[in-house]
Symmetry: D2
Subunit: 344 residues, 4 copies
């Protein structure tokens, strides 16, 4: 953790096709932790600028930025963290995270936790008026993944009933909020009891703790096999426990592997009851656009605790420690020298 | 096996809404083996009439058979082995095998290996002219499952490349034939070397043996991660071996559990590469209708070895022994007192 | 109108597979008007029992009612007005209104405006607790059509913007309510100014009058080509006027022909802007089940003005006159001898 | 026509992100005719380089061509004629022809009928080995439109029966070939009797002439309302005639307006029989990739009559005259100084 430092650097100059942005608000993502812990999935050279999620204000455009993009100084933009080659069939058909060249800012590439960043114009998405910067930042990766998992693949439908395992996390709590807004009956799980109250206040849905050894048995007793779907954000060990909660023909979406590098379940559970399992990894630019749309229409409000303005690196280190200790609910964010309208 | 006997019984009389059918040709299904071996999935009282797959000729209609059905004496009909309650939302929206009341003839209900059967009219499907009875019988369950797995769920598309693990079996070989007809590039696996020649002749697709310990490594070396999908008819132990053959975003369809009651694989394989697993259990009336349509248009010919007319029970016993020993390719069938046009 | 009479008849006895129902509440449908006016689409012999929409209480079951259906005396059930042959592929795949044998109670068959009716058990749908009978009745045909048009065909998506032409009618107002509940931005049109206030109160969405000659021009000026879809309940003359309100790739759904037996528009409008037109005719049992689900979850409340208990035929005649004069908003309903819990 | 000239010009130099291509083979498209006739849909300044369809060999890369694209000198590439802004949601989700900035080479932008062209790398698509240049050229616009109409939108399915009105044209004949390859039963129409023989030889499907006044009546008599879909390449006057050939729930796809600037039909035909009309305008890069894939797998062979090498402009003028006179079948193409392997 002491490796995280705040440094003064010369402000970058936008290259051809790039845009210079003064960043305003950021949210932390588990990718930051993976990078810090040296996960092979995100191996980056040191020193490395951290950070995948953020929102800022356009300062200037480099040469050759396509005027079609409608970007201009003063505009608030969200950063799309992941991007593929933009030209292959996958990238052009809404499946860019399947592209072999898909790279994530802060994960495979230098990140964006800087006061000034220069990025290709194609990574910028205008933020609709009236959406606060921390909320917008929260949907650029965690929220977009929730949208990809529930909506973009057509896996969840209004009127259905879904369980989110790990509803207190970044993806989990945004899936609950999105699902609820779309008239899906959502039930969430959380760990330690102290999370219940803030989570319940922020989500307004039924919650059960997954700390009791028999939590799935209890859910099975109370709800039977009534869930149309499960979104498992802590995949691995939980999968064999949640499959029996699904109705015949139900779907399980897996977006993490916190509880187990191996997944095991009875084969008959899968084919005898015609279940399906779907792995989802990050999200697409379209998911961010859709989530920003929901925010601008007031459909829901992400749970973001801001550690305030980053004058020293200490609040950031503490925030990461809380993430490692799983001692937080929703998202953790910070801002740079907040201006008037900034929520701190 | 000695429990299988051929008995003389009084011919049944069709009740209200039922149709009396003189059966002509049958094909054996693995369900028969499960019933013989006392599998808990198909527990039936003894004595039990065996058999799920068959085709016959309408002899007479009971009272109250809806004239809308257009059934009349002399018509050739295939029997739909599985049927739900017909009235629930699942049954009415093409998902009848998800219905709680879904029951399979010969599996949960008395079977149809009889010269004369009486069945509810709703189980009968007219066989188009020019389709031989054994071929038609072969698609009522095994073939319909192949159709459900590849086509009805929209999992496979023309131009894609699919691997069928267990291509010599009932479902497997029909999946290969159907996929090939739909311009999907099919590759199949088989076990002992003696099956290669008859299978290759019947399917006309590239085949590899899955008896060598490193067969998936070899496929991976030659084809990379190039498969859009895998249909695994022997699910369980094979799943972790075939997932690495899939491209990012690929699909695995599981229709059996021969090789393992448990399925295990690295969680990261699922979500990091955005794969999906789909369990398919039997099929719908619509799948049978579609497959009969393909047969009538000459799209392909099921591999059926007929043991001929069933004068004694011995050929049937021997056929089941071959199925237990996995010493056959495609489907095994038999006929009753073949008439002029019957293929024996 | 004087042909409509209230008559005493012997109570019917349920035949095999039928259920006897004491009807409680009914809603009127435009089909009633078409029958009264002798429309060739609904030619019925006289005397004819009118009525397509209604809800009642099961009194007794005839012989042979499948116990799987779970029907029992005392249960509240909605009547599914339209039904096909139940056995063809269309009926079994959720497309029953495409079946050649699709017949509508009160339209092609005797109707249900009777204190006691006997109907095939397959036409009955349990009404969830807490849903009032008039609301339930309103979604059995008008509401189900709205569901078919917007949801069942996948034509409208949350986050989109839709225009309902004729938002004051049965289908129109329920489409607005359903769309709004599903987070679709809905805009509706109405005719005479006196309808604005009750409609606005019942729907809570932006409304424009289509009585001004230039209403589409005005909408085009204020909204541009921003609509993702149009549901036109008065199709014909309105189609060429609403197509220019659609964005490229937009969809128009047509569920009526009040304003013109012929539809005409510039060919280039269709293919140059990649629009699509979709005709929807009535709905499916699944649509009714879905709508009853939304009612039971409190998603919205149909606008139904009840003329009260039908002691004489006069209130019914007056109600039809109001429908012919287009002098009503939402649905018009009536009840039989209301019991305790009945809303009158 | 005399305005078409062949001129010597300095060879262009590839700008940043551009690729220099030596063109080898071209095919003519109706867009050329519209440009020649001054259609307002394609207004271009004069002088204008014509041509939308073509295939060539990469000669050199400008600076900044993304190495991810894998382009290198010597490679055979097809030109994608239409392209949007590449960055908006529509362009990134496979709907680029809905993008407001969608522009077609030769239609809205300078064309490609030149020995040397320089184009943005994003417009180039590698041609698989073994596909001849004229065939590849034929699927870049006409063929891609056929793919978009039948396959990309999911409108046609294997086992269905479709009618192509105008089967002798560029889009029409490729739709017939593609549909046939995908096991759709195709029926085509043509005009003058002299086209029957070459068309029948090239397509191998049943054909009827639409020159007889009662051709739709005759089709109706022989086939009833049995078509699942109609692809109308000459839209306008034909629409009301072909709708009655569709089964209930059938689809009509309109890709042209040759026979009428206005489309008119009975409103009841649309909603009473639940038909849908779909306008399709040009196609997407993905459609070209898919069609090149089918060509490389030998699924079919476009009908292309080459006028040979373009030493003078006369053969081109004559070819356009034949297109204006509708005196051709399939596509007309030409080559530049054919090398060894070129089909002339
Ligand atoms: Zn890519
Ligand atoms: Zn059922
Ligand atoms: Zn039917
Ligand atoms: Zn665009």
């Amino acid at each position: 953790m002491e490796g995280i430092v705040l440094e003064e650097r010369p402000a970058p100059i936008p290259g051809p096709g790039e845009v210079r942005i003064r960043m305003r608000a950021h949210t932390l993502n588990h990718i930051d932790i993976w990078v810090l812990s040296g996960s092979p999935a995100y191996s980056v050279p040191c020193p490395h600028i951290m950070g995948s999620e953020g929102v800022g204000t356009v300062e200037s455009l480099g040469v050759g930025v396509d005027p079609l993009l409608g970007l201009s100084p003063g505009q608030t933009v969200a950063i799309s963290p992941g991007q593929g080659c933009l030209v292959c069939e996958l990238c052009r058909s809404g499946s860019e995270s399947l592209c072999s060249y898909y790279r994530v800012l802060g994960g495979h590439l230098p990140g964006i936790f800087s006061e000034i960043v220069c990025l290709p114009a194609s990574r910028l998405i205008p933020v609709p008026d009236g959406v606060d910067a921390l909320s917008a930042s929260a949907v650029t990766l965690a929220g977009a993944t929730a949208h990809q998992a529930l909506v973009a693949r057509g896996l969840a439908k209004p009127g259905e009933k879904w369980l989110v395992v790990g509803a207190s996390g970044g993806v989990g709590h945004l899936a609950c909020l999105l699902g609820k807004a779309l008239k899906i009956e959502m039930v969430g799980t959380y760990g330690p009891e102290r999370k219940r109250e803030p989570l319940s206040r922020g989500l307004g849905i039924p919650l059960v703790s997954h700390e009791a050894a028999d939590w799935t048995d209890r859910l099975r007793e109370s709800s039977g096999q009534s869930f149309d779907g499960v979104l498992d954000t802590v995949g691995g060990a939980t999968i064999p426990r949640v499959l029996p909660l699904l109705r015949k023909g139900g779907r399980a979406v897996v977006v993490g592997e916190t509880t187990g590098a191996q997944t095991q379940f009875p084969t008959r559970e899968l084919f005898g009851r015609q279940l399906s399992l779907h792995g989802v990894y990050l999200a697409h630019r379209m998911d961010i656009v859709a989530m920003l749309g929901w925010l601008s229409r007031g459909a829901f409000l992400p749970i973001v605790s801001s550690v305030g303005s980053l004058e020293t690196v200490d609040p950031l280190r503490e925030a990461y420690q809380r993430m490692i200790d799983r001692d937080f609910v929703g998202k953790i964010g910070f801002v740079w020298h907040p201006q008037g309208g900034e929520k701190e």
